[in-house]
Amino acid sequence: MEPRRILVVDDEIDFLETIVNRLRKRGMTAEGVASGREAVRRIGEAPFDVVLLDIKMPGGMDGIEVLREIKQQRPDTAVILLTGHASLETSMEGMELGAFDYLLKPMRFEELLKKIAAALEK
């Protein structure tokens, strides 16, 4: 079985690095990018099984736009939205756009793992 590939997108570098490290530590192939543009570029280069996507990001392209792009390019990718904001409306919008699930930051790591597992199962 080919290794599972996970892309983490968050502008908060400290958070990004740590999540990537912890996922790798659990035997997953994870990599991180710090902006929406970069994320879109990486998706274009290679397919990912799961994308953890921060909704609120500076730099011209926020999570929802990235989500749209992903769904267009690779509709099979499971996207889990992360948000530090109770922008539930935005999260709902994301769900309607085809996101797999959403999580409120700070989240419990176990919960994140559960959601990833669920996303991979599908």
């Binding site: 400290d14 912890r22 530090g84 904001h85 409306e89 790591f109």
Partner: protein
């Protein structure tokens, strides 16, 4: 009923003003009426006494005219020669006194032109006396008719005489009679006046012509000045002792320049005046009493209505204030929560990463390893605690319109209770359900409603602690469904009651309560168009009431 001082003073002011404007005119009116009445009353007394004086004067005139007429008849029908003879005069006098005793003639005398008393019939020895120098003799001679003032004369007794001149063959002569002062006095005094009344006659010089009861004896000088009395019967008022007024009426006789005086104190009549005044005062007091009662009752009603209206208004204001406060706080809370969430996420993940690293077998050998693990645990615990708060704050700030589900309030409540049943049982808390039959299905938001019930039930459980009872009752009242959750915990101190809906108001230990439960619930229910009330229940405990409007779901 609580009476704030402002309402008490308002009530007192309204009562005072109303009483002033209603009772003052009444009293004025009463005074005016009484004054008018006194005037009429006095006028009536005056009329009465004037009338008395007038009619009494007439009676005295008649008396004098009768005597004068009798003498005039005798003078014209009998001659001087006949009456000048003593036996004949005696016989005549005898006939007169026997047949007309009431005439009151004391004696009868005949005087010739020279003033000599030629014949005399009567009790005194007056025959032969010479009257030529007496004023009355000359007066009668020149005028033909004379009524004297009272004088003592030769007999040294007060009396008065009537004299008539006759014409005989040997010149003029005079027939003269003395009037019995007793008969005359009786006549004058016969006037019907009250206890303080008096009646007498005075001559133009002010000398009494009859005995008076109060004013003095005959021939005393009266204190009254006769010229005060005019042509017509006149009444003057004099002050009497004991504050009363003495009414004095004087009427001049027609047949003689005598003034007949009748006097009377007002005190005789004053009783009726006093009675009138007492009646009036009684009526006025009755009126005042009615006014006072009506004023007090109306004012009480008005002011208490006002107080209630004010209370309602205050309640409404408090509710609006609460809403504004929470909207502002909600925005702020959301901002803060968001700013904190990101660093909190980093802390949490870093701690997790440290835990991951501590799993390394080499590190496990380290003597400080257990302590490091324990510290990471602590960090994670506290991140979890902070997470709870920020997530609740965000939930609080959530400005979502409630979804419209078909909600069976009884079912939602029942399910929520079921969720907590275990937790309650462990703490020896019984939760009773008292659900109304046939509640309508309403259009509302099921999960938000459940969140509210959860908050309220958790509060009740926390308040009781251990061993107690929670009752959940549903009722439909008109167009509302009421859900009452009552516990028998310690209740809420009155001074805290206004603050329980404030975000972050909690009496629970740090870490145990966020103080957002009621704030969020309040907002949710308000969004649904309902109300959330919290009050202390009798005899102890707290009752939370959720009032939901009955909105019938649209048919899809």
């Amino acid at each position: 009923m609580t009476k704030a001082p402002i309402y008490r003073s308002l009530r007192r002011r309204i009562i005072a003003i109303t009483l002033a404007v209603s009772i003052a005119p009444l009293l004025t009116l009463a005074a005016v009426i009484y004054h008018q009445y006194v005037k009429v009353f006095e006028a009536r007394i005056e009329d009465q006494i004037r009338h008395l004086a007038r009619s009494q004067a007439n009676a005295v005139d008649v008396f004098l005219n009768d005597r004068t007429a009798l003498l005039a008849v005798l003078v014209t029908t009998r001659s001087f020669e006949e009456l000048g003879e003593q036996p004949r005069l005696d016989a005549l006098f005898d006939v007169i006194t026997r047949t007309a005793d009431g005439l009151g003639l004391v004696d009868l005398g005949v005087i010739d032109a020279t003033g000599r008393h030629v014949a005399y019939a009567g009790p005194f020895a007056l025959r032969g006396l010479d009257y030529s120098r007496e004023a009355w003799f000359r007066e009668t001679m020149s005028r033909g008719r004379y009524v004297s003032d009272v004088f003592t004369g030769f007999r040294q007794l007060p009396h008065f005489i009537i004299a008539i001149r006759g014409h005989g063959a040997r010149g003029p002569w005079i027939l003269r009679a003395t009037i019995d002062s007793q008969v005359f006095h009786r006549l004058v005094r016969s006037v019907r006046v009250g206890e303080s009344g008096d009646a007498y006659i005075i001559n133009p010089d002010g000398f009494l012509q009859t005995d008076a009861r109060l004013a003095g004896q005959v021939l005393d000088r009266s204190p009254l000045a006769p010229r005060l009395f005019g042509e017509e019967a006149t009444v003057i008022r004099l002050p009497a002792e004991n504050g009363a007024t003495r009414y004095v009426a004087g009427a001049w006789l027609k047949s003689k320049d005598w003034l007949l005086v009748v006097s009377q104190d007002s005190s005789d009549q004053i009783n009726s005046l006093i009675r009138t005044r007492e009646t009036e005062i009684f009526i006025i007091l009755l009126g005042c009493l009615a006014i006072v009662i009506a004023t007090v009752v109306t004012t009480r009603t008005i002011v208490s209505r006002l107080e209630h209206a004010d209370q309602d208004l205050n309640q409404l204001n408090a509710q609006l204030l609460q809403r504004d406060k929470m909207a502002a706080l909600g925005k702020m809370a959301a901002g803060i929560a968001h700013e904190i969430n990101n660093p909190l996420a980093v802390i949490g993940e870093k701690a997790g990463w440290i835990r991951d690293l501590l799993d390394d077998p080499a590190l496990r050998e380290s003597p400080v390893h257990p302590e490091l693990v324990a510290s990471v645990d602590k960090i994670e615990n506290h991140v979890e605690r902070a997470r709870k708060i920020t997530h609740r704050m965000l939930g609080f700030a959530r400005r979502m319109e409630p979804r419209l589900d078909d909600v069976d309030v009884n079912r939602v409540l029942g399910e929520t209770v079921e969720l907590l049943q275990n937790h309650a049982r462990i703490n020896d808390i019984r939760i009773d359900l008292d659900l109304a039959d046939g509640l309508p299905i309403i259009a509302s938001d099921q999960s938000q409603l459940q969140q509210v019930f959860l908050n309220l039930l958790n509060n009740a459980i926390d308040a009781i602690g251990k061993d107690g009872l929670i009752t959940c009752a549903t009722r439909q009242i008109d167009k509302e469904i009421r859900v009452a959750i009552t516990d028998n915990g310690p209740g809420i101190p009155p001074e805290q009651l206004p603050r329980v809906f404030d975000p972050f108001f909690t009496t629970k230990e740090p870490g145990r309560g966020t103080g957002l439960g009621l704030a969020i619930s309040f907002q949710i229910i308000e969004k649904m168009g309902g109300r959330l009330l919290l009050e202390n229940a009798a005899p102890r405990g707290t009752r939370a009431t959720v009032v939901l409007p009955v909105v019938i779901p649209e048919r899809k």
